[in-house]
């Protein structure tokens, strides 16, 4: 491969790229920021955003750090996007505090921005769309404890220490436990939202605790990891996760997983993008939609079985009714 060939290679790639970009020609362009390319939750957000944009005949551009959850990278991407000047931005901060300067850059460029999923610590937003992690944790934990009859040995598997979602979810878990004095919290260990880590933490906990009745995991991946550990040790316990991912829904269907708090990335993506477009079109919007906590269980999982790709965004009226407040 000679220098010239390399040059040709480069040119062709970028030619293709320009054609690709040219495809986003008409309608508003909405830049959608998510945390990483690996977590299914954010894939759901992206699909939701695309669905909404498609419905309203707008275009989305996705910006995702190449290193998962990288703060410097998302900052750089914001700076680059500000140059590109999309009509509006739908924004999930990789860190709700450290990304504030980025938000301020967007504000300074007067690009309307909708904040979804993690509530940014500061900055001007058209609106916030998210789920209430606290009540989500609380409700899902309550469901498990109710099923246990308000007693039993419980372990919590936490997500990434200090991440907004995890702090609130774990707080929800603990409050639910407080409501049920019959329960005993054996351990609360971090699995960093990682399946493997959760699996190995669980394996070790199983050994140090002969009797575990319930497992509260801060996300579905960790819940599934815990389930694998339990099966591996031929032990049984009720497990709940949070996010309501496809995987979790299947597991609920097959009875492995008791329940999953529906974090509903698809809706967040949908509504967030819808609001962004409406605000551009000078249509009325609401300053905040915090999705009501819903717990996916054996009773109601069917409605979640339709793959996100083939789901449709709710109408604006329905969307506004989704809000808890």
């Amino acid at each position: 491969m000679s220098v010239r060939e390399t040059i040709y290679a480069g040119l062709t790639v970028l030619a293709a790229a320009t054609i690709a970009t040219a495809a986003w020609a008409d309608g508003e362009t909405i830049a959608v920021f998510t945390k990483n390319q690996t977590n299914p939750y954010f894939q759901a957000v992206r699909v939701g955003a695309d669905a909404a944009a498609k419905a309203l005949n707008a275009k989305t551009l996705h910006y995702i750090p190449t290193k998962p959850d990288s703060i410097p990278e998302q900052l750089s991407q914001i700076e680059d996007v500000v140059v590109k000047k999309p009509d509006a931005i739908v924004f999930t901060p990789v860190d709700y505090k450290a990304m504030v300067p980025g938000v301020e850059k967007i504000n300074a460029a007067n690009i309307p921005v909708v904040n979804i999923t993690d509530r940014s610590a500061a900055g001007k937003f058209v609106s916030f769309v998210g789920a209430d992690d606290y009540s989500l944790g609380l409700e899902t934990a309550r469901y498990l404890l109710k099923t246990l009859g308000g007693k039993g040995n419980i372990v919590i598997i936490e997500g990434v220490k200090g991440s907004l979602t995890n702090v609130d979810r774990v707080r929800g878990f603990n409050d639910a436990l407080k409501e049920n004095p019959g329960t005993k919290l054996l351990a609360s260990q971090p699995g960093n939202y990682q399946r493997l880590q959760a699996l190995q933490v669980m394996e070790n906990l199983i050994e140090s605790h002969p009797q575990i009745d319930g497992v509260l995991a801060s996300n579905d991946a960790m819940a599934m990891g815990a389930i694998e550990a339990l099966e591996g040790a031929n032990r049984t316990a009720l497990v709940i996760g949070i996010n309501g991912t496809k995987e979790a829904v299947d597991a609920i269907n097959s009875g492995k997983l008791l329940a999953s708090g529906d974090y509903n990335g698809f809706l967040q993506g949908c509504v967030g993008t819808t609001i962004a477009i409406r605000s551009l079109r000078k249509e009325p919007v609401v300053p905040e939609i915090v999705l009501k906590p819903t717990v996916v269980t054996k009773a109601n999982y069917q409605s979640y079985e339709t793959p996100i790709e083939s789901r449709a965004c709710p109408t604006w009226d329905d969307a506004t009714k989704l809000g808890a407040k």
Partner: protein, 325 residues
């Protein structure tokens, strides 16, 4: 004169006797850690926990064993983690499409092997330092995996297949049997085949090895291919253990694997080390993490402790060798 002494004092010779001595030190260290844990935590010494440690160590070992060969040739493979991820995802797909675990295993081994071969070609044909070549490969593989998985998770595999990861045979986890099998294969390959000898010779002095009639490029290709294939194998075990494939499965694996190799007494200068040592290295790392879980030590301390152990192990080696001269 001076460089003779340097040579003589730096990576010591590859006698069985010496290596056995080095490994013996390490086993002793591992036993000391066990002793300490047994005293500190009553749940350490029960069979289930020991099996956990072995099973978790085996996951680390499969990656590290292939890496050991690469390091023996004074090279490095930073792409193993990304390799595991891509192999797992492709294998997962194949199993889902065909329903045949066998084909899945083949797919994983093939993917891993091809990636290894590409690494080897970059090092031999393009003469790119392995450190950089495999770092580039790491990004390329991540890109492919992210693109291929698009944030989805492949989950739910045939029970028969999952036995590989979570099953038991005569009361021992199946991964432990695999561990023993590949530990012996690896040891025989390195110590008791002429290819192994040639690999040691290449590590000790590539120029001399080549001028002694050893087919340098072909052997290096072999080594990188083996390393890649072992990553492919590891991906299967992960797949079966986690019962799912996701894009970030390998992210956190590479540095621990390298650490295991180094703690195992394999010298980065090449020509010195054993596969068994790497196993002990993996064991030590796993014991430490297991202990921290059992004693519910704040997870934040784990990287710190690992770091200290790596330095300590290698430093003691160097001291021992200096005394040996």
């Amino acid at each position: 004169m001076t460089d003779i002494t340097k040579q003589a004092f730096a990576p010591a010779r590859a006698f069985m006797s010496d290596d056995l001595l080095q490994v013996f030190y390490r086993l002793a260290a591992a036993l000391l850690i066990c002793l300490a844990l047994a005293i500190l935590s009553d749940s350490f010494l029960n069979l289930g926990n020991i099996l956990n440690v072995l099973r978790q160590a085996s996951l680390l070992f499969f990656i590290a064993s292939g890496l050991t060969l690469v390091v023996l040739t004074a090279g490095l493979d930073l792409s193993v983690g990304a390799n595991v991820a891509l192999s797992a995802c492709l294998a997962g797909t194949v199993i889902h499409q065909t329903g045949s675990p066998a084909l899945g295993v083949l797919a994983a081994l093939a993917t891993g092997g091809i990636i290894g071969l590409l690494n080897g070609l970059m090092v031999t044909a393009l003469r790119i330092p392995s450190f950089i070549a495999t770092y580039g490969m790491l990004w390329v593989l991540n890109g492919l995996t992210y693109w291929y998985m698009a944030g989805e998770i492949i989950h739910g595999f045939p029970a028969a297949f999952r036995q590989i990861g979570s099953g038991y045979l005569f009361g021992l986890p199946i991964p432990v049997y695999l561990l023993l099998i590949f530990l012996s294969i690896g040891t025989i390959f390195a110590q008791r085949t002429i290819w192994g000898q040639e690999i040691y010779a290449i590590g000790a002095n590539p120029v001399a090895a080549r001028l002694s009639g050893i087919p340098l490029s072909r052997r290096l290709l072999l080594v990188y291919a083996v390393s890649g294939t072992m990553a492919g194998l590891a991906s299967i075990i992960f797949l079966a253990r986690l019962n799912s494939a996701e894009a970030d499965i390998g992210e956190s694996l590479t540095l621990p694997a390298i650490a295991a190799v180094l703690i195992g007494g394999t010298s980065l200068f090449g020509g010195v080390g054993t596969v068994f040592g790497t196993f002990v290295g993996a064991l030590i790392l796993t014991l430490v993490l297991n202990g921290m879980n059992l004693l519910s030590v704040n997870a934040s301390w784990q990287p710190l402790v690992t770091g200290v152990i790596v330095i300590l192990a290698v430093w003691l080696d160097i001291k021992a060798r200096r005394r040996g001269e």
